[in-house]
Every structure is written in structure tokens, then in C-alpha cells.
Symmetry: C2
């Protein structure tokens, strides 16, 4: 384990800066004295784009590549045309750094307001593919803007890309107490991609006899997310289904304010990137109202990825304890939540 | 309005036969004496496929075309490879008969067990595109079964196809008291298709100034389905997003046992097809446990489509009253529910 962390920080837009500040506060508090933390901030996002027209220049992509990991706040603003920053910055990073594991744990913490009656037990992880599927940007449009327009989006799936994420998900399932892995796809309609996913899943399953397997169509999976979320342990799925399911998972576990994610390249060939699932929330930006917990939990994923397992656990336990003890009524500021968690992880 | 109905019936597999029987029972009970109902049953589905290898022969497709409408139970069985009956029968019918409106109302009826705490008011309609998007079967695989396999799925979207469903959705929204239409897509990632959908939506919106419009990414929409479902009135969306959202909608409104759907060609060029959203439920087939309400509500959509508005309303009110008065505890058989509703609509 390296005793130094060279971290790139992309605060981004909206509440991004606020939540990242708290994430760094907790990171500083949890790290052992002898670990040297260096951070470098990158000014990327909507403001930069308005100023210079740039989303992610090559020189900065190259510079980012040199860090151990990246902490990202949130990217986007209504003033920027839809897709510009998503494709030109956020997805560019995920693809350039081959973040094929998009890891999104979902847990119903004590005392959080789930919309589900009866507070079922929820503790699962979605392993979302991060570099293929309908996210490749493959597609186009013909006779654009006319009554004869045809627009296509191509979902690209490779044996190489599917197998590595499926294998990672099996390994994660095998390491958890319940050892259960559910593949989510839509192989009754998307037969080509579905066939590749299902066949790969069945093939890799043979190497993990201790893991119980299950398959669900994505539409059926959404039903179980609200009626029987306790049935899930680890889920592996494609890029778009994973996007949809993890927002739903965040909603049923008390909201997007608690949902963490890691865009991981497990080979270490590129820096992995950690970010809350939520967006920039421009309506509450700058008001100290944003919940930084999702970012702080993303810092835990970052630490785990870099080998600081006990520090990751300390953060997760601090969040659990903090939520368990808080009085559900009084709203705390972004800063207060960060302070409270920093104190907990330090002690 | 025609004073006769020539109905094709495809009971299909699993619980399909049972629920269709009740649907026909209620249809017979609600129709005025002078309306002549003729039905012809088509033996299509898993059993037929096992027997003959056929999914939907041309002669039967041709025969189906001659009817005023089609009532379908459910299609599929675990013994049939995934995709064979979906692509070869169910989707073939939707595409052959150009069912570009896949209409799926969602309503939280009194006394039904929603998984949502607080029982929010839910009463919206999803207008799902039915003939394009990722459902076209466009795509394929290369080097299938090898470690170099590449599998693609192409979402095809045309100005013609998008505009007609968007226009239909605006008209439906304009006819409802709240007059609100939400477009759901993922135009920050699926930029080509997203651009076509959003531009078309904005263009048609200009013709319906009385309709309030909104746009949501599909991932965000799933959050609101569980946290604020009352915000929706009419939703228009693509084929795949509509598939996912309507199962989720069924779940939050008390389960797939109540979700009706119509595969509609509003031009009347082809017969429209009405079916419950649920599947064949092989685990409970033949036991009289299936809830036929979704099929009976689909019969209401069928009647409305054929111009029998007051009969459609009678069925919907009967379902509401039946659910309001039932004792949530005692489970009724398929037949008992059908009988109860037949009695209500007749009186
Ligand atoms: C902003 C968008 C490109 C992104 C995605 O679709 O992956 C977001 O929704 C997410 O889940 O991280
Ligand atoms: C069975 C399947 C092909 C179908 C679909 O995906 O449309 C079903 O899920 C539905 O929603 O009617």
C-alpha cells in the first residue's frame, strides 16, 4: 500500500464544490498521520466551458492520468446544452480511463426516510458496466431536423468487455456473506446483446460454484426493487440498465443524497474516479443545503480501492452511526454534516 | 360506432387462458343487448411452438388482421428459449399491426397494497412508443460464442415515428383535467435519439399551448415514480424506457395484477391489441389464483378504443368499487373476481 495519495479533485458545478470540500475534510481526518495526501484541483465543468469552450483538453486528460485517483463532485448546468459535458467530460473520463466497473452500493441506513412502507432490509451492490452498451456514442442521425430524420443509438457489447465486469461481479459476490449474484438484462427483446451477457454469465458462473445466481429482466427488476429489495445481494448489469437501476436504488434507500459510486479500473492501469450518484442540484447550490454524505461515502470507496480498507470501514461506520443518532427533523448544513463525520472518523 | 364486435382472442400460456376467460365474461356482461359479439380463439404461444415449431404463421397473421380488435392473455414459458415467442409472436404482432401507441394507465386504486409509504395519489398514463427504439430487432453479433464476440442492438428512431406518438400523447394530455405531459428520455447520453425526441416534443408542444410540459431523464423519472408519483399526468417515452417505467408504475400502484395495456393503432388501419402488462406466471397457472383485473381493465381500454366509452367507464368504476369494498385479507379466486365484476357492470 502506498503511504501517499496523489489525488486529483474535480469539484465541478452546482453543489459539486461544497460536497467535495466535505469529502476532503473527512479524508484528511481519517488518514493516518504518516500518509501524505496531495491534492490538485482541476477546473472543469460548466463554468470552464462557458469561459473557454473546452470540456476536457488533452493536456488535462494527460495530467489527470498521473494521479492515484480522482474525486469528482458533480458536472453540469442547465445553461449548457444537454450532452456537451456528459459526453465531453464525464463519459470521456470514464471511457479514457477504462472505468469498466461502475460500483454503486445501496444500503438502507438507519433513520433515513425510505419511501417504502415497512422499511425492508436493503444492502446490495450494483456492478454496472462502464465502458460499453448504449453509452459508447455510437449512432448518429440522418436528414437531421427534417420530417425524414432517422436517429440511431447503437449498444455495443463485446465478449471482452462483458466478461471482465461479470467476473468482477462474481468475485464481489463470492466475498460477501450471502454470495448471490443477479444478472439484469432484457434478453427476451435485446436478443443479441442479451445472449452475449447471459452466456458469459453462465460460463463464469461455473468458476464460482459457491455463488447463487439469478436472472431478471430489467423491467421485472424494477418491481423487485420496490417490493422485495432484500432479495438482492450483488447485481451485474449493462451501462444503461445500471444507470436506471441505481437511481431507483438510491431513491428507495433514502435518496440520492446518500448514494456513492466508484468508476473503477481494477487493473490500476488508469486512475479510478469516485463521485456521488447525484447531480449538481443548481436549485440549492451555494446555500449549504447539500448533503455531502454521498461524496463522503464515495471517499470510502476510494480508500478501499487504494488499499485503505480499515479507513474505508471507519467512514462507513461513521455514516451509519451519524444517521442512527441524528434527529430526523432538524436539517443540518453541508458543513455541519462534514464536521460531524470528520470528528467521528478521527476518534 | 359499430354495433358488432368481431374479436380475436389469443389466450396464450400460463395464466393467460384463465384471465382471458374472465375478461370475456365481463365483456359479455357489459355490452348492450344489441351489440353482437363474435370471438375467435387463436392457438398461439408456447404449446403451439412446442407442437409445431410455429410462432405466428402468415396465414394466422392475415386472419388476425380481419378482426376489429385482439384480446391477448399472456405469452411465454420457461421451456421456450428467451426471445423466440417475444420476437416471433408478441412483438411481431405489435410491429405488423403498427401498434405505435402502447397505452398503459397507472392508478392507485383504493384498498390496494402499494409498497409506498403514505399512499400518494397516483393517476397517470404512460404513452409508450411501440414500433421503434431498441425493439426493432436491428443489430446482430459477430464472432458469436468466441472471446472476440461483438453484439450490437440498434435503437432506431424516426421523425415520423416519434412525432405520431408525441402528438397522440399531447392530445391525451390536453383531454385530461391536469393537462400535463412529461417527456422521459436520456438525451444527455443518447444524444442522437434524444435530440430527435426533444425537438419533436418542443415542436408539437407549440400546437398545444394549454398543456404544461416537462422533461426528465429516465433515471430521474424512476426516482420520482417512488418519491413523487403524483407529479405525473401523462408521460410519453420510447419503447424500452416505457417498458421499464410501466413495470415500475405497476409495482407502485399495487402490483402487476392490476396493470392494463393497449397496443393501439389509432388510425384503425389494423386491429389494436389489448393485454395485461403481466406475464404468464407459470408458478400459479391453472390454480385459479391469478388476478384477472388487469385483463378486465384491458377490456375497458378495448371498449374505449372501439367507441364504447360508457361501457369502458362502467368497467373501470366496477373495478374501483370492487377494490374499495373488498376485505384485503381473504384471497378470492380468479373466477370469483371475474364474477364479482361481471355482476357489477351488468347492474
Ligand atoms: C450524467 C450522466 C451522464 C450519468 C450517467 O448516465 O451515467 C449519471 O446519470 C450517472 O448515473 O452517473
Ligand atoms: C414480453 C416483452 C417482450 C414485453 C415488452 O418488453 O414489451 C413485456 O415486458 C411488456 O411490457 O409488454
Amino acid at each position: 500500500m502506498s503511504r501517499s495519495i496523489d489525488l486529483a479533485v474535480i469539484p465541478g458545478d452546482g453543489i459539486g464544490q461544497e460536497v467535495v470540500t466535505q469529502g476532503l475534510k473527512v479524508l484528511n481526518a481519517v488518514l493516518p498521520q504518516d500518509v501524505k495526501l496531495e491534492t490538485k484541483e482541476y477546473d472543469l465543468g460548466a463554468r470552464r466551458w462557458h469561459r473557454t469552450g473546452e470540456t476536457l483538453p488533452d493536456a488535462e486528460l494527460e495530467a489527470l492520468r498521473g494521479h492515484d485517483a480522482i474525486l469528482l463532485g458533480a458536472i453540469g448546468d442547465p445553461s449548457v446544452p444537454s450532452g456537451v459535458l456528459e459526453r465531453g467530460l464525464l463519459l470521456k473520463l470514464r471511457f479514457a480511463f477504462d472505468h469498466f466497473i461502475n460500483l454503486r452500493p445501496s444500503k438502507l441506513f438507519p433513520n433515513t426516510a425510505t419511501p417504502l412502507a415497512g422499511r425492508p432490509e436493503i444492502d446490495f451492490v450494483v456492478v454496472r458496466e462502464g465502458t460499453e452498451g448504449p453509452y459508447t456514442g455510437n449512432g448518429g442521425s440522418l436528414r437531421t431536423g427534417t420530417e425524414h430524420e432517422v436517429a440511431t443509438e447503437v449498444s455495443v457489447n463485446t465478449a471482452y468487455g462483458v466478461e471482465r465486469v461479470v467476473r468482477d461481479a462474481f468475485a464481489r459476490a463470492a466475498a460477501r456473506p450471502r454470495k448471490k449474484l443477479t444478472l439484469v438484462h432484457k434478453n427476451n427483446v435485446l436478443v443479441h446483446a442479451g445472449h452475449l451477457w447471459k452466456n458469459t454469465f453462465d460460463k463464469v458462473a461455473a468458476e464460482f460454484p459457491e455463488v447463487t445466481t439469478d436472472y431478471l429482466h430489467v423491467d421485472a427488476a424494477t418491481i423487485f426493487f420496490v417490493t422485495q429489495p432484500e432479495r438482492f445481494d450483488v447485481i451485474v448489469t449493462d451501462n444503461l440498465f445500471g444507470d436506471i437501476l441505481t437511481d431507483l436504488a438510491a431513491a428507495v434507500t433514502g435518496g440520492i443524497g446518500l448514494a456513492a459510486s466508484g468508476n473503477i479500473n481494477p487493473t490500476g492501469a488508469f486512475p479510478s474516479m469516485f463521485e456521488p450518484v447525484h447531480g449538481t442540484a443548481p436549485d440549492i447550490a451555494g446555500q449549504g443545503k447539500a448533503d455531502p454524505t454521498a461524496t463522503i461515502l464515495s471517499v470510502a470507496l476510494l480508500l478501499r480501492h487504494l488499499g485503505y480498507e480499515s479507513e474505508a470501514v471507519r467512514i462507513e461506520e461513521a455514516v451509519s452511526a451519524d444517521l442512527a443518532e441524528r434527529d430526523g427533523q432538524s436539517a443540518r448544513t453541508t458543513d455541519e454534516i462534514g464536521d460531524a463525520l470528520a470528528v467521528r472518523v478521527a476518534s
